[in-house]
């Protein structure tokens, strides 16, 4: 049962999104109006524990994170595929269970391969 079944979920979701955006906007506006403003060259520098920053900060970063992001993509898509099955699991019964077992077996094989190849090792 919805709080207001007269309004669709879509409209309510948009209301929630607008509320979030409005909250940030309004709070920023109030802060801009009442907060002090001053500028100095030193203050505008990035804070890296007081030592002057060296080199570029927006750089290409460690590839280790990238490997985990690819693995995440695989397994998150798997989770997305499994959710519809989980919902109708009871009506599919044992046959559906066997079918999904094959699907999962292939995925676990993939995880085992990644593990064996050392993709899960952080170095």
């Amino acid at each position: 049962m919805n709080l207001l079944c007269e309004i669709g979920n879509g409209a309510l979701s948009i209301t929630a999104v607008l509320t979030g955006l409005g909250l940030v906007f309004a709070a920023l506006l109030i802060a801009k109006l009442i907060s002090p403003k001053s500028y100095s060259v030193k203050k505008a520098e990035p804070y890296e524990c007081g030592i002057p920053t060296r080199g570029e900060s927006m750089i290409q970063f460690k590839a280790g994170y990238y490997i985990f992001a690819i693995l995440f993509l695989l397994f998150d898509v798997e989770v997305v595929f499994l959710y519809p099955w989980a919902t109708v699991m009871r009506s599919l019964g044992v046959q559906g269970l066997l079918c999904i077992a094959i699907f999962m077996f292939i995925l676990i094989l993939g995880l085992a391969y990644a593990w064996r190849k050392g993709a899960l090792k952080w170095e």
């Binding site: 049962m1 919805n2 709080l3 207001l4 079944c5 007269e6 309004i7 409209a11 309510l12 979701s13 209301t15 929630a16 999104v17 607008l18 509320t19 979030g20 955006l21 409005g22 940030v24 709070a27 920023l28 109030i30 802060a31 801009k32 009442i34 907060s35 403003k37 500028y39 060259v41 203050k43 505008a44 520098e45 990035p46 804070y47 524990c49 920053t53 900060s57 927006m58 460690k62 994170y65 992001a69 995440f72 998150d76 989770v79 499994l82 959710y83 989980a86 919902t87 109708v88 699991m89 009871r90 269970l97 077992a101 999962m104 676990i108 995880l111 593990w115 899960l120 090792k121 952080w122």
Partner: protein
């Protein structure tokens, strides 16, 4: 069970009855909903800040904030106003647009998740029939905000913090999804209000045998990592990275990250309360009729909030008990132990349900 929906239906009928046009009714109701969300969001955030400060003080045998108001109850209001009047420092070399976009994304994703949680029978704003799936989807948008904040700040600490946070949140999201899927397998629906309604006689943590219990434990661990807390707080490890991805944010900009962090703590606890501990359903023991009747007198929202605060208490407790893990330990723990384990647990639950071994 009392249905809060009848109040809103009555209000809607009254608005239409006094001759307000259809579109205006919808508009008025949407505005009221927005005000309600804002109120709940702020009150919860304030409550949680005080809750955590007091709890962590008690864990360390301190008193916590005591000066402002009785037992320091007004401390959070003082903090909020202080943070509002602080200067918004504009920095050199930041990516201005992304820097300002990040708080919008983080706050909006937590507001939408908050609107999805039912507090009582009919006391829910967004009620998709894919409810829990929608929440998972929205929660992954929050990661974007953190990555943007870290990247656009032009600071090496924020970059490392954001990368760690991204790796951690996307990794533990899989376990989180699989643990919740265990309950979806048991219940056969993704609609949160139906899920809770099915727990009238026995909460899923009891009716789901051992798989549900394991799923609950996995969920609490993964949720701790998802909210960047406890032993998994290495994205903002203050001894290494100053403050992690929000180092360069000042004033209310920082306040947004702070708010969203506490709201996310409430949201993950709320989901645990709804999916495993029966949400607004009272505790029933079969056969104890007198006890069940007394329990029925306690209103639903009190049950929901009580359970959510209890889970939050456990998550806050983690932080003061376990030392922080290293990043390799954190990733190895997820990918080598937690994820295969939660997958196996989900299959176990599917077998249990297919063979009819559940209550």
């Amino acid at each position: 069970m009392f249905n809060f929906g009848q109040w809103t239906t009555a209000f809607n009928n009254w608005l239409l009855g006094i001759g307000v046009a259809d579109w205006l009714t919808v508009l008025i109701e949407c505005v009221l909903i927005a005000v309600a969300i804002l109120g709940v969001y702020t009150v919860l955030a304030l409550f949680y800040i005080l809750y955590e400060r007091k709890l962590c003080a008690w864990f360390q045998c301190r008193l916590g904030p005591m000066r402002v108001g009785k037992w320091g109850l007004l401390q959070v209001f003082a903090d909020m106003f202080k943070i509002l009047i602080k200067e918004l420092i504009s920095l050199k070399g930041t990516d201005r647009f992304l820097f300002k976009l990040a708080p919008y994304i983080i706050i909006t994703s937590s507001v939408v998740m908050l609107a999805c949680l039912p507090w009582g029978n009919g006391l829910q704003i967004i009620d998709w029939n894919i409810g829990i799936f929608f929440i998972l989807a929205v929660s992954s948008v929050g990661v974007l905000g953190i990555l943007l904040a870290g990247w656009s700040s032009n600071n090496k600490y924020t970059l490392i913090g954001a990368m760690r946070s991204g790796a951690q949140m996307i990794s533990y999201e899989i376990s989180l999804g699989l643990a919740l899927m265990t309950i979806v397998v048991l219940a056969g629906t993704m609609d949160i209000s139906t899920l809770v309604a099915e727990q009238e006689n026995a909460w899923f943590i009891f009716s789901g045998h051992i798989p549900a219990l394991i799923a609950f434990i996995i969920y609490v661990i993964a949720a701790t990592a998802e909210t960047n807390r406890g032993p998994f707080d290495l994205p903002e490890a203050e001894h290494e990275l100053v403050a992690g991805y929000h180092t360069e944010y000042s004033g209310i900009h920082f306040g947004f990250f702070y708010l969203a962090e506490y709201l996310n703590l409430f949201i993950v606890s709320g989901i645990a309360s709804l999916m495993f501990l029966g949400g607004w359903m009272p505790l029933h023991v079969p056969g104890w009729d007198g006890f069940n009747m007394v329990m029925n007198w306690i209103p639903g929202p009190v049950w929901f909030l009580g359970k959510a605060f209890f889970i939050s208490f456990i998550i806050i407790w983690f932080k003061w008990t376990f030392p922080r893990v290293r990043i390799d330990q954190m990733l190895a723990f997820e990918w080598k132990y937690l994820m295969p384990f939660s997958l196996a647990n989900m299959i176990l639950m599917a077998v249990c349900v297919a063979l009819g071994w559940h209550f």
